[in-house]
């Protein structure tokens, strides 16, 4: 499980991660409370978290977002 604290573009981030098919990880949105969004992941959660961060940052809408990813 990873938690992404993100205030903006939440729907974009959910769609992006759930559609990710890199083969190394997969993400399933489990729910959110305010800015906290929980995702269940396959593979090493720490690496999956890093990947999620990179994926969001690489989007045009993600370059200026202020967010963090926590494990668990």
């Amino acid at each position: 499980m990873i938690t992404i604290n993100l205030a903006q573009n939440q729907a974009d981030a959910i769609a992006l991660l759930e559609a990710y098919q890199g083969g190394d990880f997969s993400y399933k949105f489990e729910g959110k409370q305010g800015i906290r969004m929980k995702f269940s992941v396959t593979g090493d959660p720490e690496q999956a978290g890093k990947k999620a961060k990179d994926l969001i940052k690489s989007q045009q809408w993600g370059t200026n977002l202020y967010f963090n990813v926590m494990i668990g």
């Binding site: 604290n5 993100l6 205030a7 903006q8 573009n9 305010g34 800015i35 045009q60 809408w61 370059t63 200026n64 977002l65 202020y66 967010f67 963090n68």
Partner: protein
């Protein structure tokens, strides 16, 4: 409060996000960030010289570093580092700008960097009337050339990008190695961009520059001077402080979104202060405040001033919030977050607090998060403008602990940490009632 938040989310945040994701502005931001490794090396050189060459002189008027073995050599070595970095910051920025502008439009960055650099050098004074020919004066290679680079370098690189995109290029067979093929592809677009800039320089030399004015000087006078002049007013300083906080609050990276302004205006001012300090210490900086010649002008409020007086513990002055939580909070969750946040907070990293409490999108925290840095900035600004403390003349990395940061940024002015302390106390007074209010919020829940 909820209505304001909804309004901001509906109208302000999307516009801010849109602006923040514009490719040209991303390129501007990345161009400034891209110069960081070299700029920091130069800043470290100037700071070491400030510590061993200039600071001791405040306490011992007979101090002469050139008479002290080892230290004299360190100062000399630092001089070389400065010469290759901050003294020619304009060259470094031109390369970074061309590279990043090309990169955000997905074309070859190296060729773009070279086009931008060549465009800058076209505008540099190449000869002195009745004097030597073929030398490049430093005044045309420093931070004040940023504006020329962004405009004319931007134009030539834009032409290069457009022609590449439209495939108006030399095409070589697939058997040609990629490195050669890439260089040949860029020939026509690069030449077109450079000729466009050259024609502008030429027309300028026949018209506005007929009396010997250079484009770089003219742009400094017409564009840089008003912008930098505006940056010294309290309104502009307060507005940028307010906007940075507002962006953070709504989950956008404030300094990133505002980097073109923060780095492009206040950052340029800071580079001028650094260069003046390297050349003549604090005296040279103070002597050139308000100098109409933008290449030599220095400034009271620069990019590092915000870090020194407003953003201790991170944006919002949140280290004072952590202190207020330790003293007044009855909430276990707040105390846990404060314990987690205090370590990073000492180094101005406030992510645990921003997302842990949270502060982001938390209506109860909006007012202090905006007000505390505004008041802190006001204190730092007034102290600097009234001459109670030396202006920031050194670049110090933002992760430097707060009081040390202002001490080093002002090249060792002992009054600077005191000003930071006053700002710190004011922030604490602003945060404390909201921490207490959050106690009752918990009880209500």
């Amino acid at each position: 409060m909820q209505a304001i938040q909804s309004f901001m989310e509906k109208y302000f945040v999307p516009v801010a996000a849109k602006i923040g994701s514009m490719r040209v502005l991303i390129a501007v931001r990345d161009a400034f960030v891209g110069t960081l490794p070299v700029a920091m090396a130069g800043s470290i050189a100037v700071m070491i010289n400030a510590i061993i060459r200039d600071m001791p002189g405040q306490f011992n008027p007979d101090y002469d570093v050139s008479a002290i073995p080892v230290l004299a050599q360190i100062v000399a070595v630092n001089g070389f580092v400065w010469q290759g970095t901050l003294a020619v910051a304009g060259i470094i920025f031109a390369i970074s700008w061309g590279y990043n502008l090309s990169r955000v439009f997905d074309v070859d960055g190296l060729a773009g960097a070279l086009v931008s650099l060549a465009t800058l050098i076209m505008g540099v004074q190449f000869a002195v009337p009745d004097g030597p020919w073929g030398w490049l004066p430093l005044r045309h290679l420093g931070a004040m050339t940023y504006f020329t680079t962004m405009l004319l370098g931007g134009l030539s690189v834009a032409i290069y990008i457009i022609l590449i995109k439209r495939k108006i290029t030399i095409k070589l067979p697939d058997s040609v190695p990629p490195a050669i093929s890439k260089a040949f592809t860029a020939i026509i677009p690069a030449a077109a961009g450079l000729y466009a800039a050259a024609i502008i320089y030429y027309i300028f030399s026949l018209t506005i520059g007929a009396e010997g004015t250079f484009v770089i000087d003219w742009i400094s006078e017409v564009i840089a001077a008003p912008l930098l002049g505006l940056s010294q007013g309290y309104g502009a300083v307060a507005l940028i402080t307010f906007l940075v906080s507002l962006f953070w609050f709504f989950g956008l990276h404030g300094p990133n979104v505002l980097a073109p302004i923060l780095e492009g205006i206040w950052g340029v001012g800071q580079l001028n202060n650094l260069n003046a300090f390297q050349e003549g210490g604090l005296q040279a900086v103070m002597a050139n405040i308000g100098n109409p010649n933008m290449q030599e002008a220095t400034f009271l409020w620069v990019r590092g001033s915000f870090d020194a007086y407003a953003w201790f513990g991170g944006s919002g002055g949140t280290i004072t919030l952590i202190l207020a939580i330790f003293l007044f909070s009855k909430r276990a969750d707040y105390k846990t977050i404060a314990k987690l946040g205090v370590g990073p907070g000492i180094f101005n990293i406030n992510e645990p607090v921003m997302f842990g409490l949270p502060i982001v999108l938390n209506p109860i925290m909006l007012i202090p998060f905006i007000l505390a840095p505004l008041v802190a900035t006001t204190i730092g600004y007034l102290a600097t403008i009234w001459g109670l403390v030396a202006p920031v003349t050194q670049s110090v990395t933002w992760v430097m602990p707060p009081f040390l940061l202002s001490f080093l940024a002002t090249a060792g002015d002992w009054r600077a940490p005191i000003v930071t302390l006053v700002a710190f106390a004011a922030s604490f007074v602003i945060w404390a009632p909201f921490v207490i209010a959050a106690n009752s919020q918990k009880e209500a829940e």
